[in-house]
Symmetry: C2
Subunit: 215 residues, 2 copies
C-alpha cells in the first residue's frame, strides 16, 4: 500500500495511526501542501477532491476520506478492532470521532485558513482566533462527554485505543500549531498522554514523518 | 424514538431520510435554531455540543452526529441496507458521503455563517460567496467521481439509495438557500431528481416539516 499524505495534515496522521495499529506496512509519499502539490494533475487523478490523504491499494484502487478509509481497514483487517463490538458503543465512538472530524478539522485545515487570509483579509491573529474558537466549541463538549461517561476508560472508550482516540490524538497535535490552551481539557489531555506512550500513535506524529519540516 | 432537530438543518434532513427509509416512526421535536433553542440547557443536556440532530432512543439514550446515528440505525435495522455489502463498496459510499458531510456542511452551517457575520463583518454577499465556494470545491469532484465510476447507477452507488444519496439529497436542498447554480453538476442533479421521487426522501425535505417557516 502507498499512503499519499502530508506530515502535518491531521487527517493523514489519523490514517498513519490506523495503519500502524493494524501492523500494515506502507510506502510514504509526502505532498508539500504549501507548494500546492495536492493540486498537481498527478495527484488530482488519484483524488478529484485534491485532498490528502489517499490510500493506494495493491491493485491500484485509490481510497479517499480518512474516516472511510479507517473503517475499510478495520473491516478488512479486523485485529485489533478500532470500533467496539456493540452497536451503541460504535455509535458513541463514531460520534466522538466525528465531533473532531466534522466539527473541528474541516473548519481549521489549510484551505480554509488560506481563504480567511486571501479572501477575507485575516492576519495571523484573526486566523488564530478562528482556529481556537472552533477547537473550543468542540473540545468543551468532548471533554464533558468523556469526563461524564462510564464508558470512558484509559482511552476514549474503555481500555482499547480506537477510532475516537485516533481523531483525538491527531487533533491535539494540530492544536499545538496554534498554541491552544489545554488546561480546560484534563480528560482529553490525559488520554492524549496515554496514547502518546503507544508506539503506533507516537510513530504517526507529524514531527516524525520523512517530509517533516519546521515550517 | 424522538428526533430532536430543525427543519432546515441538513444533518437533520439526513436523519429524517434514514428513519423514513428504515420505516421507523419517530416523534418530531423542532428547535428554532435562529432563536438559539439548541443552546438551551434542556437541549445541551441531551447533547453537550449543542448541535442538532439528536436521536433519543426508547431507553432515554441520546445519540449525536448524524453519520454515526445513521450507521447505528443501519446496524440495528439492517433492512433495507444503507451501505453496500462489500468493503470496497462501503469505502466508496462512505467517502462520497463524507465529501459532503466533512468538506461542505461543516463550513456552511448556521454557526459558521454567524461567525462570518459577527466576527469577520461579512454581509450577505460575503456569506453567499463563502457558501458557494465550499459547495463548488466539493461538488466538482463529487460530480466527477459519480460521472466517471462504473459503480454509479440510478443512485450514487448502483441502484439502491443509501448513505451517499442521503447526504447528497440533503445538501442539494441546502444549496437552494444560496441559489447555487447546479448546471455544472448534471449527474448530481439527475440523482437528486430520482431521489426526490422516493417518498422517504421527499417526506424528509425541509419544507415538509412541522416547524418549517419561510424565514
Amino acid at each position: 500500500m502507498r499512503l499519499h499524505n502530508y506530515f502535518r495534515s491531521s487527517t493523514s496522521t489519523r490514517l498513519r495511526i490506523a495503519l500502524n495499529l493494524k501492523g500494515l506496512d506502507y510506502d510514504y509519499v509526502g505532498y508539500p501542501l504549501l507548494e500546492r502539490a495536492h493540486k498537481d494533475p498527478a495527484f488530482v487523478a488519484r483524488n478529484p477532491a485534491g485532498l490528502v490523504p489517499v490510500l493506494e491499494l495493491q491493485d491500484g484502487t485509490h481510497l479517499s476520506q480518512s474516516l472511510a478509509i479507517i473503517e475499510y481497514l478495520d473491516e478488512t483487517h479486523p485485529s485489533p478492532p478500532l470500533l467496539p463490538d456493540d452497536a451503541l458503543g460504535r455509535a458513541r465512538v463514531r460520534a466522538l470521532a466525528q465531533l473532531v472530524a466534522c466539527d473541528i478539522h474541516p473548519l481549521n485545515n489549510l484551505r480554509v485558513l488560506q481563504y480567511l487570509e486571501r479572501e477575507l483579509g485575516q492576519d495571523q491573529a484573526g486566523k488564530t482566533r478562528w482556529f481556537r474558537h472552533w477547537v473550543a466549541e468542540a473540545f468543551a463538549p468532548l471533554e464533558e462527554m468523556l469526563a461524564s461517561s462510564r464508558d470512558t476508560g484509559v482511552f476514549c472508550h474503555r481500555d482499547t485505543p480506537g477510532l475516537a482516540d485516533i481523531c483525538l490524538y491527531a487533533q491535539v497535535w494540530n492544536n499545538r500549531r496554534f498554541d491552544v490552551d489545554m488546561t480546560a481539557y484534563p480528560t482529553i489531555s490525559a488520554i492524549f498522554e496515554r496514547l502518546d506512550q503507544i508506539d503506533a500513535f507516537a510513530r504517526a506524529a507529524p514531527p516524525r514523518q520523512p517530509d517533516a519540516t519546521g515550517a
